[in-house]
Amino acid sequence: MTRSWPGGTPPGHFSPAIFPMNRSDVNTQPAALLEARDITKSFAGTKALAGAHFALRGFEIHGLLGANGAGKSTLSRVITGHLARDGGTLTYKGRPLAPRSPREALEAGIAMVMQETSLAPDMSVLDNIFLPELGRPGRLSYATNRRRAAEILDELGHADDLSLDQELRNLSAAQRQLVEIAKALALNSDLIIFDEPTASLSPGEVERLFQVIIRLRNAGRALGFVSHRLEEVFALTDRVTVIREGRTVAESVDTASLNQSELIRLMVGREIGAIYTARHVVPAKRGEPILEVRNLRLPPMVTDVSLELHRGEILGLGGLVGAGRSETVEAIFGLYPGAGGTMKLDGVAFAPRSPTEAIRAGIGFIAEDRRTQSIIPDFTVRENLMLAHLGAHRGFGLGYRARQARVDELMTMLDLPAHRLLDDSMLNFSGGMQQKVIIARWLLLEPKILILDEPTKGVDIGTRSSIYAILREIAARGVAVLVVSSDFQELIGLCERIVVMSDGRSIASVPSALLDEEKLTLFAAPRSSMARNLDLLRGLAQNHGGAAFWAIVDENRVFCLHTTVSDRDADPGFGAGATPRFEETRIGAALRARSAAFVREPDSGLASLVVQVKSPRGHDLGSIGVVLPPGLDLPEAAAIQARIATVFEAIQ
């Protein structure tokens, strides 16, 4: 594990000879609409940007890439006037630009779709879409706005399920994101930056959004697309700019000239494979779970979550933003005493009424947002490190001294400089250092269970791999580790098993060795946005008097997303969330055959038709299967295939 590069230049830092980074090259292209040069920005001593460049021109979709915490969002916010830059130049339409507020940027024609939405929860969808108009002089035309908003929602494919009069607070995370997008579209700006717009969207909604973005490009707009999802970048962008640790390491490279591994190398500065080394071998049989959660309920975010966590295991909790993952682990930790359902800790009923009770029962919790949920800004680093100890401590005094020896050990283990323990504030530390101190805070208590919510958010790549190493080490010593993450690569690389959540429900618990990012993405897609597909399954099962399922079918396994059974005799032998091998199902022959016609099972006589489905842009969306009981006349396969195709062509 290296943290500094002896040569001075980190590997993967491409020289201008390979990728054009100087102005003259750019000038041979059509003139840039916006050009950002050498942008710098610091927060409390931490450099978020240290010389970032970004150039956007009309008729293009330009990807802005980087790992978590690389500075993508900061750069976008500088360009759109949400943040004032410390240094560097911004040129827009040939003139210098220094937006002092988002308002000024909007007036100039620059809009942004924010990652953490900037909406007013008490106002209606319509009011939110035209929120920026409120800052403009002149009267608003209610009727025009209403018509325009309806058009935009229609374009996004949500005219029928998103009412303009709904209050925003009643919407799901995905719906809010769509309103945020509609808001930017309503401004009719020349330049729009989309900051991770897909983080809470289902694949179908992503498709629609991409179509809209492509249409905007063809109309001559300049579009920035911030993401760390590579498949989206390849599917959508024309050119990419990569930033790493606040610096641009590749500027305006044609997307077509890159491949995935080159892009990863640019983003992280090294091969990513190295981070997820020493993958766990899944033990055949675990003993009794140390933590058992059954039907956890915490409206409105969590409706039904069950999971089992074992000693020495790293369990992942995956899902899209807004799926209820954070609320789930916070409820386990006693932050919501009113949560429904049952929990057992070491076989004994467990219902913590406060974090203190959870801590004393041996649970540690590293929350998602360090700044608001973990760090006490007015405490020294040492006292911050001791904070959970103070929470668990029963005496009147502090009891710091008794812990000091262990603190010294942890500082060595985590590679933290001991002399910085007495620093006045943690806010001057890098995100990685802060996270290590927070991890040390909990390791100090030697918990039986350690829960981490987005443990590598805003953490540099070097610290990231050392955090993974620490988690593996404590798991090897018997600690049960539960990791929440929206980074699917991280979940698959780090965890042995992944519990997938969608719309507040746990829908599958799958060994990560069987998963890849694509399967996980399909599993995690919000059920609410799949309504049409589920209707289709119900219709197929009922009309033909059998069963229907939606699943990902790979070489020898089925990953079932949903099953509807009308006739018990036609049960394919797997339900939603199950991942059986072909021979473990009742329709093994049909799954193996991959035929375009019905296939009859030799033993049971069940007849099944399995139809592969793709999105209009060619994305694999798994397979739809129809299973009929023995002795029934087979309907025409072509008719069923056509019916399925219609639904998926008009996807969501």
């Binding site: 919790f365 760090i375 005094g397």
Partner: protein
Amino acid sequence: MTQVAGNRAAGEGRFPAVAKRLTGRLEVRMLGLALLIALSLSILSPYFLTTNNLLNLLDQSVVVGIVAIGMSFVILTGGIDLSVGSVAGLTGVVLGLALQRFDIPVSILLAVLSGGAIGLFSGVLIGGFGLASFVVTLGVMAIGRSLAYIFSGQTSITNIPPALNDLVYTTVFGVQTNVITLLALYAIAYLYLTHTKGGRTVYAIGSNREAARTAGLNVLFYSILPYVISGALSAVAVTLLSSQILSIDPLAGNGLELDAIAAVVIGGASLYGGRGTIIGTLIGVFIMVMIRNGLNLMGVSPFWQGSAIGGVIIAAVFAERLLSGDRMRR
């Protein structure tokens, strides 16, 4: 803003480490300010730097000083207690009425308990139900003063046992007991805030309540406790005041809340919570009392004293802002 940050970064290198560590400590800076004021006053008035006047200064610090301890606890959690003055008035009346029937110790105990009970009432509404401290204590302020008038029958209670005088005028090594009480309370508060779980929890709540809760600290209990302490100490303060003048007025402690808040703020505490020290508060009390005393010695009209104190408060906070250069907090 960027300008200031740049200057600061440049200046840091030149500062010798020791000096930086010292000026980096808020109490040291405030002590410097206090000494500066003392120096100017002793130049301006020949009477300022006399033993008598200095003992007098301490004596004048007692009431506001004791109330400022409770106020520090409350402000450290990010709250404010506007009710201290009227709680002092009301508990004074409780003391006066109790003295008609009970012994002195029992009466004092009753007064302090009633002060604590009023604090508990405010604290539960604020810490337990999440009401705004400003509003709750504003209400309690009005209720307290009104009850003080009702219970006292709108007049001063003057038939107080003279023995109560001993509470103040007994001297140890030439120092009055009320001053000793003041210093002892400050010592206890200092030790509590720096060396106990409860004290650190008070700071943690003010600095980041959510993080304190997530780390398992008892946020509910320690959000309420400061108001109880504040109420009880208001009663202690009014007890010492009554002992000194052997008369209890329902109007006692009028405006005390502003003096106490001013002392805490001059002492460098942040009204957002989490930042400030009890030593700083004591220095803040001394600064306020010195200015008032000095202006009296120089014969400045009492009507100008408000302007002087107000000016010092604003100047102190402004200087603190520039010196600490901390713009991260909201």
